[in-house]
Assembly symmetry: D2
Homo-oligomer: 117 residues x 4
């Protein structure tokens, strides 16, 4: 088992032990994921880009906790849907690499990344 | 290297090859993550909970692609911040398990999961 | 002045009095809006569709507060950008009405609304 | 009728004419709102704060359209729940004004706004 598969199994057991599978519809889990990403975004919303690169310890701890919550709902949602997250992510990255070949998109001139790859 | 570490390295190389690290501030990456979670939520917004458990092939393919995008930005953001995603997720799960012990939260009566653990 | 214009003026004065305009870039305000929408979504994430139609008083009070926060950031963002919210909303509704004429989209057969109009 | 009440009535008629009220549960409308806020955020995600203050005409047009979509779902959600948006927003602003009195929060020193008021 990969690290993610072990974690998905742990989340599965957590939900089963509390009889919470009834609440873990993909619809609800997607909402929970959106809620946690909202909390993550709120931690960075007033910072400048440079400040966001150099978080003080307390902010980094809170951001780490939110990243943990986001990961839990993402892994749980993928597990309920039967989706392999890293396979899906790799496939998307293959697509974006082809669409934005590095030789055409490198350089000192600012070539902005795609708004939504 | 774990599967996630390999994927983070791939995303790091992808950004470096295009000189896009300048855009990958945690602030921007958190926004990109929110954008992709929005696209994921939009795929399920009109479905009933049961319909969301039984997606047709086309919808599942689109949801899988969005899960891929979400994963890419989450892994990239964690990498830029130096955060171990599975460690953070496990730590949060430890906390939630202690806060909602299964013997107190199991049963036929509906004990709703926390709004935000 | 319309009700919204009066409220936008109030938010403008609120920011000016605290010297907070420096933080109210459209980028930051969009993030704040996403954070508040996340909190709103979290209030409804474990409810069934029917339960979401019949909120108990405490939940309705919390949802109302979140709707207030969302409205404040939306109105402030539009004001900073010089966008008339109701004009923009009306224009989008004109577009969607033409794209989904009611005679073609009414009926007992389930014709789902567009995922993203 | 205020401008917002007229717009809410227009949205109500739009949904009724297409027999779409069945899809307009608060749960679904909150998801739709999150989806549209995601699209708005995506328009600004790679911009610097200063660039976000000076959008080119094409980007401003797309942002205006997204603000229109966000407003439509926010007004529709509030109408379905029976919530007065401006009253809720004003009440929240009263609360934040008391919590962050301007004489204590003004000055050249950077006093950051609250992460989530």
């Amino acid at each position: 088992m990969t690290e993610l598969e072990r974690h998905a199994a742990r989340l599965r057991a957590f939900a089963a032990a509390r009889d919470w599978e009834q609440f873990h519809t993909p619809k609800n889990l997607a909402m929970a994921l959106a809620g946690e990403v909202g909390e993550l975004v709120a931690e960075l919303q007033w910072l400048t880009p440079d400040e966001s690169r150099a978080l003080d310890p307390e902010t980094l701890a809170r951001v780490t906790a939110e990243l943990g919550d986001v990961t839990n709902y993402l892994v749980r949602l993928a597990d309920v849907l039967g989706v392999d997250l890293v396979a899906a992510a790799s496939a998307k990255l293959d697509t974006v690499e082809r669409r934005y070949p590095s030789d055409a998109y490198r350089g000192s001139a600012r070539k902005a990344p795609p708004a939504s790859p």
